[in-house]
Structure formats: C-alpha cells, structure tokens
Amino acid sequence: MLFNTPIFFVFFVVFLLIYGLLLVQKRPRLYFILVASFVFYGAWNYKFIPLLVGSSIIDYYLALAIAAASDQRRKKLLVTASVAVNLGILGLFKYADFVLESVADFLLVFGMEASVPTLSWVLPVGISFYTFQSLSYTIDVYRGDMEPRRGLVHFTTALAFFPQLVAGPILRARQILPQFHTLPVPTWTGARHGMLLVTSGLIKKTIADLLAIPAAVLFEADGPVSLIEAWTGTLAFAGQIYGDFAGYTDMAIGIALMIGFKIPPNFNLPYFAVSPVDFWRRWHISLSTWLRDYLYISLGGKHQRVRNVMITMLLGGLWHGAAWTFVAWGFFHGLIIVATHYFGSLRTFSGFANSTSRSVALLKWALTFYLVLIGWVLFRAHSIDDAWNIFLNLHTFAALPEQGAVAGRVFIATVVAVLWMHLQDWFVIRKGEAFENRKWLFWPVLIFFQGLCLMTGEPSSEFIYFQF
C-alpha cells in the first residue's frame, strides 16, 4: 500500500473518519492507530506482523530491565542482548543469503566448490527501519539519554506508526514515543502544512517514476550506450532515488502532521551539498545521524577517525542492501569523506576549503555532485563489473545515439526534473508558510499538482527504499 495509490487514499480517508470520531478519547485513539498500522503493514504481508510485535515486546522489556538494573555490567549485558536480537533478526532476514553466497564465492576463488544452501526468505518490508528505531530506544535508555516509558501499547504503536513504518524516517524513541503518550490533536496550520508536504512528495515520487525510464536505459542496457545516455541515465537515477525517497518521506511527514504527529525532516537539499560531509548532513538525515550517534561515536568518533568513518560508511552501505555494490558504495563514500577531512586539514587546501567565494562554492558543489553521481553508479549497478563499465562509459566519448534529438531532449528533461525537485523543496522549506497563508493561490496550486500527478503514471512504479 504505497502512499501514492488509490488504495492508500481509501485507507486514509477511512482512517481519518474513524480517527476523527475518536478524537476526544485518547486510549481508543491509540489502539486505533495500532490496528490501522497493522492493517497498513498487513496489506503487504500480515505474516510479518508478529515479528514487528516481537521486536517491540523484547525491546520494551529490555529497556525497562536496563533502567532497573543496578550495576553497569548487567545494563551492558541487557543492551548487548537488545543489539544482538535486533541485528540478529535483521541479519537473518536480510543478510543470511548474502553471507552464505559470499562464502561460497570466496571458496571458489581457492578452487573449492561449495554447495551452500540459501534461505531465500522474503524480506519483511521496513525491517531495516523499525529495527534501528527500536534499537535506538534501548541504547538511549542504556546511555541514560532517556527514561524508559511505561506502556507496551504506546511503544508498539510508536514503532508500528504507519506513516513511517515501511520507509522511515528512522525516528528516535525520544522523538516519537512521548507523542504517543500525549496523543496530540492536529491543528489546522499543521494539517495544511501536511497537505503541502504530501503534495510535494507526490510530485517528487511521480517525477522519480518517470526518471526510472532513462535510468533503466543505462543500467539495464544489454550493449554499449552513448556518452549522453550514460550521463542521462546516471543523473536520472540520482533524481529517481532522491524523488523516490525524499518524496515518500515528505508524504510520511505530511500524513503524520495531518493527524497531529511531528516527524523531523529527513532531507535538506542534498544535491546542493558542497562536500561529501555536507552531503551526508543533508541526505537521509535520520540514518546518517543514527549511524553517527550509535555507531561512529560508539567506535570512538574522531579518535581514529579514518577507521571509524570507514566502518560506519561500510555498514551504512550494507544497511541499504545485501550486495557487494552497496558495500562498495559505502566504501566509496567513506573514502571521499576521509579524503575531504584529509585535504581540509592540509594548509595548501585550507584556503579552498574555508573559502566563502561563490565561484569556489560552485566548484565545490560541482565536485561533490560529480562524486555523488559516481557513487550512485555503484549503488544502482547490478555488479561491480557493471559499475566499472558504466564508469568507463561516463568518461569515454562514444558516438551519439541513433535518435540524437530525442536523447538530447531526454537529457534536458532529466536535468530539469532533478533541478525542479530541489527548487520545489527549497520553496517548501523557505516559502512554504507564506504560500500556505495565500489561500487563493495555495489550494488551486495544490489541486492542480495533484491532478497532474493523477495524470502521470508508469506501470512499473515501485518504491526503491522498500528493499532496505
């Protein structure tokens, strides 16, 4: 049940109707959110609901036990149990086959052919998001950053909350759990902003689906592609993944706001970043801050920065999917972050790094965007070999495609689409409030764009981040 489908619209309208009737009754409202979230999740595969409930029960009681434990050793043991259970579940469902196949491939290098059985289990939708979210609770309680909250239903509802259940953002317990205890009611201003975000997300998701077509021309090509097609495809994928993920997140935040809940933003104009470090401050903020707070800092942070950055980014890459291309993508980003720190520390480059001039900023942006694009090639390619071939394609002049004019139009449309999404986000962030107050303009524009999205579709529309 994707947010941009008619079935979700029906679900949400029914949800709003019942939720509105329960508005003044807190406990029934809480139970209703839980049931609705299970219905939403069950629309994909109801068999995984017990897994979600199991995760929440374990972490809820472990958090209480951690808080109640008198000695540090016991606290550590309990939080380790939480980490082991959560990562164990994630590992079993998401990485077991990858590890087994990699072992078999590794043995093959030494001439040992091993027939390794694989599990071929279905990956529960959203597991990477909710396990990290659940884990943040026990770790925060262990660190003393938050007090455990009484109420298993509250905790489970917060974890299963349908707007953010399947594709994040990865909320910290301290951000979301208190809201399920107070159960805020929506305000008209908040709801109106929510509607703006939903429409903005819908536009981005629609654009992302269209960009999937030129992206596939490159990444699914059987033979060689021209230089313009290679750049169009890479740029299109950059736009696709951004529109897909940021669009979906916007819709999640907007939907939550419409029923009174506040979810922090997950993106902040990432393709306007002027360094790889800056990029990760703007891209999938909830994941990068999670990795920073719970992994990078746990590893020691700035002490042994190179090692810690590389481990964090490698695992961050692996979080995105069980394949060597994701590991390579994480490694690549680790490398460019380390390089940024290194060059920034050199006296020769400090002038460049600290410069506030516009031309230098433009140069830094161009370099960063180029590196991000190269990273996306690793991310999207079917194998490291494919990624390398595409990399060569991007840097080798090949003859123009047969339909040069069409290829040119597609390239221009792709550039416009990527730029449009960022300008739209910039507008929502900077001018959204003023825009919302101009009712005569706000509602017609919203309806116009919703209509436009209803007129645009692609049969193979799928949400990329579900695989994570």
Binding site: P6, I7, L16, V410, A413, G451, L454, G457
Partner: protein, 410 residues
C-alpha cells in the same frame, strides 16, 4: 492518561478534523475532475480508445434478435479488413442459405483483451438462449508475441477495466485490492483513461523516437506521397457523396461491422481505388510498414507470449459454448514482405500444436491460398477492401457454404 477534554475543546478539535477530512476528500475529488476535464478536452475516453469494440459489444442484443442463422468472424484488424459480412451473406444466399454474418475484427487488441470481449459475447448469447451457426476465430501469430504484449502494456489495465464485468472487477479487487481499485477507478471515474496511458501517449510524445526508415532500402517518393494525399482527399469526398446516411460509427450495424462493398461504389471511385492501392503499396511504404511490424509485433521471428496463447485458448472455449461450429483460422499472409525463418515457423507450429491440443480443434492455415495473391494487400498484413477482402470472403463462402446451407437439425 487523562481521557477528559473540555467540551468546547472537543468541539473545536472536531471542527478542525472535519475540515481536514473534507479538504482531503474534496481536494482529491476536484483533482480527479480536473483529470477528467483534460481527458475530455483531448477527446480521449473509452469511446476513442475502444470505440469499435464497445459499439460491437453494444450491438449484441440486436444481433441475437436477428431471425437468420448467425455467423461471426472474430479476430484482429486483419479480420476487420479482410472479411466482408454483407458479401458473405449474399454469396451464401446464392447457394441457398440464409445467414447474417458479423465482422468482429478489432485492431489493437490481443488475446488477453479478446478473452474478456468473448466472455461478454458469450454472456449475452447465453442470456438470450441464442447460438451462432458458425464462428471463425482468427489466430493471428504476431498478435500473440511478447513484443506485441509489451507494446500494449500501458493499455492493459484500461482495456481489461473496460471489458471486464462488474463481477470480474470485484474479483480482481478481492484478489489484489490495489490493482482492482485502480481498475475500478479507471472504469468508473476515468472513462478508461489511465495515468499510464496519459503519460505514454501525451507526456511521452516528445521523448518517443520518430518512426524510423533506417534499414529501408527504398527511396521515399515525395510526388507519389503528394498524389496519395490528393487521392485520399477525393476518396473522402466520394465517400460522403455515396454514403450520405453513414453515421460515423466505428462498428456500423447496417454494414454488420464490415466495410463498404464494391457494388455500392461508382466506377469513378473504384478507378480511384485502383490508384490508391498502387500508391499505398509502394516499395518504400511496404518496407517501412514491415519494419514497424517487426519492431512492434515481432512479425517475422515470432516469439510467443505464453499468457497470450493461453488467453487465445480461452477465447475459443468461450465461443465453443455458444456456437454450433467453431473454426480457428489463420488469415492470408503477404509472403512478399513477411518472411519467417525456420525457427519462427517452428515456434508457430508449437503454438498451433498447443492450441489444437487444448481446444481439441484444428487450426486451419489459410495463410497461403490460391484466390488471394500478394497484390491484394493494402500493407504488409491487411487485405485491401475491393480485392483482398472480396477474394478471401468468397474463399470462406466456398469453404463453409455446405455447412451453412444444411438445414438445422431438429
């Protein structure tokens, strides 16, 4: 947890919520109306999409009321162009039979869609307790290929939504709520026009490669093209003069779903048609058309889509339930332009074997028959009206006259 809220607060909260609910519902309603407005402004809709099919389907209640024995030819646009019902009936009458035949040939369908149409035909015949004396079902190999299916994917949901019955739509919704709901929206709120179709055929237009004549060894003759445009203009005028009562239907009941007949046209018009056929079958035009068929329907290599072959079997099964005689036939092929390599013929033979095994009926291969020659085509696949269709219809009469002139068993 406190569950008490002051009554004025509660009222205010309810008001806000009612506003949110109404805004969401009304907003989507207006957005959908906007879409519908644009679709109407573009002249799109179920009638422009499946006009001929819908008109033919709507004519079934009238067909089942006809007093004569009923004959139907069901198939693709090749059937549409290649079978002349009124000439068929006349020729059967000359042999002592009395039948009323109908042309149910439709361009742009594949067996998946034909299956739904066949179900609707079956339902109407069964409801009126009427049977067909004979149905000739065209098996069109290139309508059953993977390429053809892929080409029509953006249309698939719309066509099925329009051709499925309400009960079938309900079944889809129970089976896959997301897809079922989308199809119901397409049918009941979007008049058959899906978002995918708008994207493909409207937004997608500037990004579609123009029809290419690369690989065509013949030169385009601009003077001949100019003359063709002129001939077409005059033929249009002649049509208006000679058929003042024609109402513009895609499937015209007085013509029984077929086209015009030679005897109704003036000598001058028929002379113009001779020139028209020459002009539209220039080597250049035929080569471009062949290339288009190769790319869009894999007409030479013939890689069959298993689902489409299975759907074709279902089409036959539907007609078996309402027809005394069911014939599966393959229409004449323009062998000057369409040449299938041995591997393709082997694949075709395999598909035919499957159809014959599953329907327990033979597939009659009329692809190469003496009365129809390669100069009777209007392009690489369709027979022309006054030569090809006439010859093939006569061939069918010869073939099935005995069957159709037999008295009905008591």
């Amino acid at each position: 947890m406190s569950s008490s809220t002051s009554s004025s607060d509660a009222k205010a909260q309810r008001r806000i919520f009612a506003r949110i609910f109404l805004t969401v519902s009304l907003g989507m309603g207006i957005a959908l109306a906007l879409v519908q407005g644009l679709v109407m402004a573009l002249g799109a809709g179920s009638s422009s999409l499946l006009g001929r099919v819908i008109e033919a389907r709507d004519a079934i209640p009238q067909i089942v009321d006809e007093p004569q024995e009923l004959v139907m030819m069901f198939g693709s646009s090749m059937t549409g162009a290649g079978f002349s019902p009124r000439e068929f009936d006349l020729a059967v009458a000359e042999r002592g039979g009395s039948v009323k035949s109908f042309n149910f040939g439709f361009g742009g369908l594949n067996p998946l869609f034909q299956d739904y149409l066949a179900r609707r035909i079956r339902e109407d015949f069964e409801a009126s307790d009427r049977r067909l004396k004979l149905v000739m079902i065209e098996f069109n190999p290139f309508q059953t290929t993977v390429s053809r299916r892929n080409l029509q994917r953006p249309l698939e949901e719309s066509y099925v939504a329009l051709l499925a019955s309400p009960a079938e739509l309900a079944d889809f919704t129970l089976d896959d709520p997301e897809s079922g709901l989308r199809m119901s929206l397409i049918r009941y709120l979007r008049d058959g026009i899906s978002a995918e179709m708008i994207t493909t055929f409207l937004w997608g237009e500037p990004f579609r490669a123009p029809r290419s004549d690369d690989g065509v060894d013949f030169e385009r003759d601009e003077a001949a093209e100019e003359r063709l445009r002129e001939v077409l203009r005059v033929l249009g005028e002649k049509f208006s003069e000679e058929y003042p009562d024609f109402d513009g239907s895609d499937w015209y009941y007085p013509w029984q779903g077929g086209g015009t007949v030679k005897t109704e046209r003036s000598a001058e018009t028929l002379e113009l048609f001779e020139e028209y056929y020459d002009l539209i079958t220039s080597d250049y035009r035929m080569a471009v058309d062949r290339l288009d068929r190769v790319e869009s329907a894999d007409i030479e290599e013939l890689h069959f889509d298993a689902e489409l072959v299975a759907a074709f079997v279902r089409v036959v099964e539907n007609f078996k339930a309402i027809s005394d005689n069911v014939e599966i036939i393959m229409l004449p092929k323009n062998t000057d332009w369409i040449k299938n390599p041995p591997e393709a013929l082997a694949r075709q033979a395999e598909a035919i074997r499957q159809i014959e095994a599953e329907t327990a009926l033979p597939v009659r291969d009329f692809q190469v028959i003496e009365p129809v020659s390669n100069d009777m085509f209007s392009d690489t696949t369709h027979l022309n009206r006054y030569q090809g269709a006439v010859a093939f219809t006569e061939f069918l009469v010869e073939r099935y006259a005995e069957l159709l002139t037999q008295p009905a068993p008591n």
